[in-house]
Subunit: 235 residues, 4 copies
């Protein structure tokens, strides 16, 4: 199954996992990044429980979008099924990342969505970063990691959140998942999410009544960087 496209996918996923590790968002073997090749319905993902320092092109695992493992040897990340639900639900994403980054996890443990309290937040996330409901006992008993993906998907559909404008979700009691057009963007969003979560946490700690910024200011900042009228950065 070795070919150029697969190799390129593995390279992107390997690089994104290493970037995740360097960014201090993961501890030990926690966390994982995957990437998808949409033409071929293939996903490359970190192997389960392997030390980041030992990651290489060779131990990246390939699965198809139904979860079938296509490489021999190592098991994929135990969170693989969650990634697959996200690829199947959010049709235009190309990469998914999962971390236990400190303040995103703390917000998830505290069951707190992160309302938009500042322009740093609005620059990257359009409105409140949602925290899911607590997963049901039924879902835990059934197919836990698959159901975690369904929980994220349902949170977005029930609350009418557009996954292209909100590339992160806090899973209650668990931690964050992020995504983007490719594995590198998923990791970048994980990094921004952690800083935004930290600033959200401390802002609410000193001012518990603080409500979201007004919509006009969120719009100004988000659309300064996104969409056809964006004017941040270079053409």
């Amino acid at each position: 199954m070795y070919d150029k496209e697969i190799r390129e996918l593995k390279e992107k996923v390997l690089e994104a996992n290493l970037e995740l590790y360097k960014s201090n968002l993961v501890f030990f073997t926690f966390g994982n990044v995957s990437g998808v090749n949409r033409q071929r319905n293939l996903v490359a993902i970190k192997p389960s429980g392997v030390d980041y320092k030992k990651l290489s092109l060779k131990n990246m695992v390939i699965v198809n979008l139904d979860g079938k493992i296509l490489t021999s040897g190592l098991n994929p990340s135990s969170d693989t099924k969650t990634h697959l639900v996200l690829y199947n639900s959010f049709s235009e994403i190309g990469g998914v990342a999962h971390t236990h980054s400190r303040f995103a996890t703390i917000l998830a443990q505290a069951l707190n969505s992160a309302s938009c309290l500042g322009t740093t937040h609005a620059d990257y996330f359009y409105g409140e970063i949602p925290c899911t409901q607590i997963i049901s006992d039924e879902a835990i008993e059934k197919d836990y990691e698959h159901e975690t993906g369904i929980l994220i998907k349902n949170t977005f559909s029930e609350r009418n959140i557009d996954y292209k404008e909100m590339k992160a979700c806090l899973v209650a009691s668990h931690g964050p998942f992020t995504w983007g057009k490719d594995p590198a963007e998923a990791v970048f969003i994980s990094k921004v999410l952690e800083e935004v979560s930290l600033q959200n946490f401390y802002t609410r700690l000193i001012n518990p009544q603080k409500k979201s910024m007004k919509k006009t200011l969120i719009d100004r900042h988000y659309f300064r960087k996104h969409g056809k009228n964006a004017y941040y950065g270079q053409k």
Copy 2:
């Protein structure tokens, strides 16, 4: 437009931007520093959205004090108009810096001015570091970055704050702007502001009723370092 003065201005601004980056006050491409040449009404500033690691003399952007871009190629920082209002309003400053540094931003998000709670604060900032009102919808819709500068200017004039004794302002829901006699001082003030903001935050967290230090003690510390009777440091 290449000449020695422009080159020197660009050098100072480049160096100050790199110092800002090294000081861990900015994340990703956030933040920017500018400097002015008052004789020629020219401002050098960081280009918008460019990675700090890729900054060079060549990509520094020159604008005049009316906002006209005089170099070809890159767009200036999206916050350029805010900088220009500050240069036009505060006639003796030579440099401006903007960051999303952690605790200054958190205070700004929490809509909290930083009252003077300790001598570290009083050594550099004469009294309360102001946080602006929330920017009006009208100002957001009009010319947002220009209006942000006006907001800072008005905060200082309405509250009778001297920009030479208070070289920082927290913009509500947004983050800090700082200034000084040159770009290097603007960055230095950003660094002190961050530490002072952090200490202010934690002091109020453990003692929410804590009021400002008394004026006699603020005066003693501020004027130990500033003005004609200063006795800190070497002659």
Copy 3:
């Protein structure tokens, strides 16, 4: 008393102490790790008050399980008797670590057990990480370090906690002890404990009413990594 087994034990203990030091869980000369050779009833442990940078195979101290010092020269860690009670009480452990790591110590000082608030916790600790009662005056006066071990042992037996599923204890007003199958695992658990303690602390700070996660979710995560049905990692 020099022989191969002793040398191997000392090597493991030295390496684990150095790892503890590198992990930033100890300050100055605080903290210590030991290991046991069960066949020979011998324990190797860090010498008391010696700088981590000066540790070597030569200055590791050997004691038997009754506390008799068998090497000449240096005194063993002042906490040695606590370690010995743990080896004598928890029959299958092979290593013990003691730190003053920041947030584990803060929880112990605040007299707070760490209830299970997230999956990161449940991945490594099966339920609430216990904090002991405050040690009695009688125990302090008698044989303090021995009694500290007894306190941990009694906490586990009175609360029906299995030391194989809960490899850490917070000693009230003091700090954490951890253990594992060998000195390296004891240190690894110290590291996870610190991160979990930090996340527990901040979660409760922002949501003081937060109760433990439900048992179904704890079970799912703990047994995903432990026991005969574990499916995390590689076979």
Copy 4:
């Protein structure tokens, strides 16, 4: 005035200042360490406002215990008179350090003494680390830095605190001073003070009602390391 004793004193003071800088307890030019030669009533101290990276034997300043500057060139630290009061009041100390270290300063700004909440504290500080009253207007106007020293001295005598068992004082609204048998110990105490202050801060944040540990436990830990019955470390 160059001779061997002076040179040795300067060397100790230089080294202690550099150690202070490396320990991240000072920002910019804040903070200072001095040492005394009791036979000759001479004190060596950091020059005022000089960057730590530019410190050398040559720019250490020598003053006598009455405050007369005996070296030519640089002014001594603006806090010199505070140091001198401490040398004149606490007859057996050999070094003094002053920092704006983060959590010691935060406690001082919050006007909080640090009661003894854990064994880490009791290992180095015998009981509550005192925070002074706010300095009077009269003292501020008169001879501020001298009066700061008097404030510390009076705090210790009024509260019957032994400066040999409590080598630190938090000056209200200002920050910590520490001392020891030589400049190196003063710096060491500054480092321990910062960690103990941080742990004190967070313990009280999560458990505001937390009272001091009981005296029996303080005694056990303090005298395990200090005095004629100490059994920590090596003989």
